[in-house]
């Protein structure tokens, strides 16, 4: 990945080649079907939004894409090849993610967190590490430099030696993005990257996501903040109860009465659930 700061114009929505194609993904937990045959196509250089009320299955869908869950049915094609549902294979293929409830390595420094992200792109093994030959030193230095570069990129350059758990909330989210970027992804999956942020931090986050997109990485983002989604996304997918309700341009989705209903309807849903359990 080359970090380009001069932003070229955003590519047209369906201009790039298809990089990620998930089809018919189903995930069942016992009797509960959390994701019910969802299709998703992502093209290079695109930002795709994933919206839907709480419990709609968005995070579960991410987990299926990244191999944390083995989908009950369906397959994920990445860059022309079928992705096995193994997290490591997914990352190696070029898809990285962040988590809704931040999952940093809390007791490592920011820099070390990002260096862990480089793990899959480096290769020093036991003997190299023990004998510390030139290859080892070169790779360590390169890893460190790259990690620092990424921290600078997301705006955390000065916090590199601070412990992740001591960082403010917004910085932790950005650190998670830097860690994901360290795996050299072609597609980045962000699970509610602005949850709990103030408006200013949200703006910074969307700037960052644009910057990432402009550097050639496709982004799939789960969000509840509609303004954020409509400013950011080329395409939006709305999930409700595990199924795709609508897919289309932000304006299409925004004006779709079913989407509005789904969001308004959730209040009732929640009450129902509360009463029945």
């Amino acid at each position: 990945m080359t970090v380009t700061h001069s932003a070229p114009a955003a590519p047209p929505a369906d201009g790039g080649a298809v990089i990620l194609q998930a089809s018919g993904v189903i995930m069942r937990f016992g009797g509960l079907t959390a994701v019910n045959s969802v299709d998703l196509t992502v093209r290079e250089g695109e930002i795709v939004g994933l919206i839907g009320p709480n419990g709609a299955g968005k995070t579960t869908f991410f987990n299926c894409l990244t191999g944390l869950y083995k989908p009950t049915e369906g397959q994920v094609i990445f860059n022309g090849a079928v992705l096995p549902p193994k997290p490591r294979a997914v990352v190696l293929a070029g898809m990285a993610r962040t988590f809704q409830n931040i999952r940093l390595f809390n007791n490592m420094t920011a820099l070390e967190n990002v260096m862990v992200g480089r793990y899959c792109r480096t290769s020093s093994m036991a003997l190299t590490s023990i004998f510390r030959g030139p290859k080892f030193r070169r790779e360590e230095a390169a890893t460190r430099a790259r990690a620092q570069e990424l921290l600078d990129y997301v705006g955390l350059g000065r916090s590199s030696e601070l412990l992740a758990r001591n960082l403010p909330y917004g910085d932790q989210r950005r650190l998670e993005i830097a860690r994901a970027l360290a795996t050299d992804p072609k597609v980045l999956l962000l699970d509610e990257p602005t949850a709990g942020m103030n408006p200013q931090e949200t703006r910074q986050a969307s700037d960052l996501i644009f910057k990432i997109r402009d550097s050639g990485i496709a982004v799939v983002v789960i969000e509840h903040d509609m303004r954020f989604i409509f400013n950011l996304c080329d395409r939006v997918l709305c999930l409700v109860r595990g199924e795709t309700l609508v897919e289309g341009s932000p304006t299409q989705v925004q004006s779709d009465p079913r989407v509005i209903e789904a969001y308004i309807g959730t209040g009732d849903d929640d009450e129902d659930e509360g009463a029945s359990t």
């Binding site: 990244t66 490591r88 390595f105 490592m108 862990v116 793990y119 412990l163 795996t183």
Partner: protein
């Protein structure tokens, strides 16, 4: 603390105005300080008088103006107290800006009081009667009491953080060297004690002094210094370990203990890779040591060895390590599916399988590989070239016995293990292990090869233990299954846990505590296991990360502690700034 006596280097606290302290407290403070001075002078004076009527007790404490060793301890404590006192008020004020001398004095005073009380109690009990305590003993007891009281009455003043103290490099290196020398002589002295009481009192003294230095912030500073002069420290530690046998005049009694400690520590270090670095609990680790030992035994020239092939020892070492590592790989495979407590039980079961198999393979139940419960005795000493490890050798006029020979081999082995341990720790692999410990799912999602790294931890830990086992077989002369029971695994784990997870120094301390103390404190020998069990329970409540824990481990055990996290970050930043 005597080495930090260059107060000119340290600027006094800018914000400190004595005039602001009101007169009453000033007076009170001066009184306390005078108490401290009186106390330490009285304590020291007592040391020049006889403590005990009976010269046979606790070394010889009965000759006035010729202090015995216990009296010298208290003299040392008095001198240290003088340094603190003068740092509190007097010519060493510059030093006092950095160290919490009031607290240090209090701790030292209480420690000295405890020391004196135990000493006098021992004198009274062994010679049946308080009458046998000579006046000097009472004088010193009173002195230590006054010191303790004065110390606790002293006003505690805010101090600067020794973390940020900067001294010239030669002072820092000098400190390390002096400490190492003290370690060497302290260890030689302690091991030389055949009297459990003196040994115990020496421990009390060491703990009191160390605690007071800790209270003074000395160890914070030392930590940074150690970080800054890592090479010097390692070299120093190695020099101490290397020179130790030369202090023993060819006596094998202590060298035998020292080799036991060393082999135990080396094995525990291997376990620390598994537990401390990779965060996997292995309750059957002793099996790997056993695998190495049995390999060496069956391939040895013992008349009871069961395999005809007699390769040279270096080949045996490698083979033992490979056999153990293979077992490690097998034991590691379940990590793919099970984790946490389950894994611990799986390893425990593996350990038992190993032990039972070794005591079964006697020819009646399966092939005769191990001679069953009787094991393989009469394993000859190592012979490398013309150098026989069983013989006594003389080097530069120092005679070195059988155990000293093994000691040196084990030292080299320990060095290898330390190198492997710390290099793996500071590498891509080490980072991967930390990530797995912190959040396995997240690590996996970031592309860390979780299964591979766990397997590798098991295999490499086993490899190192296997190497140690091959030496152990020759040193112990015989190999039997009952040397490899679960309790031994528990002991190894305890060395790691008590000493400190993820650190080298911690494991050595843990190993020393667990192996040396029962040897020297014979009177506790029957209660050894009970103390061990209770210690584990208490440790998990009081300081689960161990005595010298890695900072990261400490954080992991105190997820809620914000202040600790801030503090460790501060230390880390200071270290980064230095290097």
């Amino acid at each position: 603390m005597s080495t930090v006596s260059t107060p000119t280097q340290i600027a006094p606290t800018p914000g400190y105005h004595p005039s602001r302290i009101d007169g009453l407290r000033e007076q009170h403070g001066r009184l306390a300080w005078l108490l401290v001075l009186t106390g330490l002078v009285v304590l020291a004076a007592g040391c020049f008088l006889s403590w005990s009527y009976d010269p046979e007790i606790l070394g010889n404490l009965s000759i006035s103006f010729n202090p015995g060793s216990l009296q010298l301890f208290m003299l040392t404590a008095a001198v240290l107290a003088l340094v603190y006192a003068l740092a509190y008020r007097g010519p060493l004020r510059g030093l006092g800006v950095w160290i919490d001398s009031a607290k240090a004095l209090m701790v030292l005073g209480i420690g000295a009081l405890g020391f004196m009380a135990i000493t006098l109690a021992v004198v009274a009990v062994t010679s049946s009667g308080l009458i046998n305590i000579d006046p000097g003993g009472w004088v010193s007891l009173v002195g230590s009491l006054v010191l303790a009281v004065g110390g606790s009455l002293l006003e505690r003043r805010p101090t600067k953080d020794t973390l940020h103290a900067q001294l010239p490099a030669w002072v820092e290196i000098g400190t390390i060297v002096v400490l190492m020398a003290m370690l060497l002589f302290g260890a030689a002295y302690a091991l030389g004690q055949t009297d459990g009481n003196i040994f115990g009192l020496f421990l009390v003294f060491v703990v009191a002094v160390a605690w007071s230095l800790f209270a003074a912030g000395f160890f914070t500073w030392l930590g940074i210094v150690a970080q800054r002069h890592r090479r010097v420290l390692m070299l120093g530690a190695f020099a101490v370990a290397f020179l130790f046998p030369f202090t023993q005049n060819g006596s094998d009694a202590n060298m035998s203990i020292a080799t036991q400690v060393l082999i135990f520590a080396a094995t525990a270090l291997g376990l620390n890779i598994v537990v401390g670095l990779a965060g996997l609990l292995d309750l059957g680790y002793i099996a790997f040591l056993g695998a190495g030992a049995y390999t060496a035994a069956t391939l040895s020239t013992s008349a009871f060895a069961t395999i005809g092939w007699k390769p040279p020892f270096l080949v045996v070492v490698l083979l033992g390590a490979i056999v153990a590592a293979t077992l490690g790989l097998i034991i590691g495979t379940p990590t793919l599916r099970v984790s946490g407590d389950y894994l611990a039980i799986v390893t425990l079961a593996f350990g038992e399988i190993f032990r039972l198999s070794m005591s079964n393979l006697d020819g009646n139940n399966g092939p005769d590989l191990t001679h069953g419960p009787n094991g393989i005795p009469a394993i000859p000493d190592l012979q490398i070239g013309s150098f026989n490890f069983g013989d006594e050798h003389t080097i530069l006029g120092f005679s070195l016995g059988r155990f000293a020979n093994y000691y040196f081999v084990l030292l080299v082995l320990a060095l290898v293990i330390i190198t492997v341990f710390s290099r793996l720790n500071n590498s891509r692999i080490g980072r991967g292990w930390v990530a797995i410990r912190e959040d396995e799912k997240a690590a996996e999602a970031m592309g860390v090869n979780v299964f591979g790294l766990k397997l590798f931890a098991f295999a490499s830990g086993a490899f190192l233990a296997g190497m140690a086992g091959t030496v152990k077989a020759h040193q112990d002369v015989s190999v039997t299954p009952d040397q490899y029971v679960f309790l031994e695994s528990a002991f190894l784990l305890a060395a790691v846990v008590l000493g400190g997870m993820g650190t080298v120094a911690g494991v050595f301390i843990g190993a020393t505590i667990l192996k040396l103390l029962p040897e020297k404190l014979r009177f506790i020998s029957d209660y050894r296991l009970l103390i061990f069990g209770v210690l584990l329970v208490l440790m998990m409540r009081v300081r689960p990360e161990g005595i010298i824990a890695s900072q990261r481990r400490q954080l992991e055990f105190h997820e809620e502690d914000e202040a600790l996290a801030e503090r460790i970050e501060e230390v880390h930043l200071e270290e980064e700034a230095q290097t």
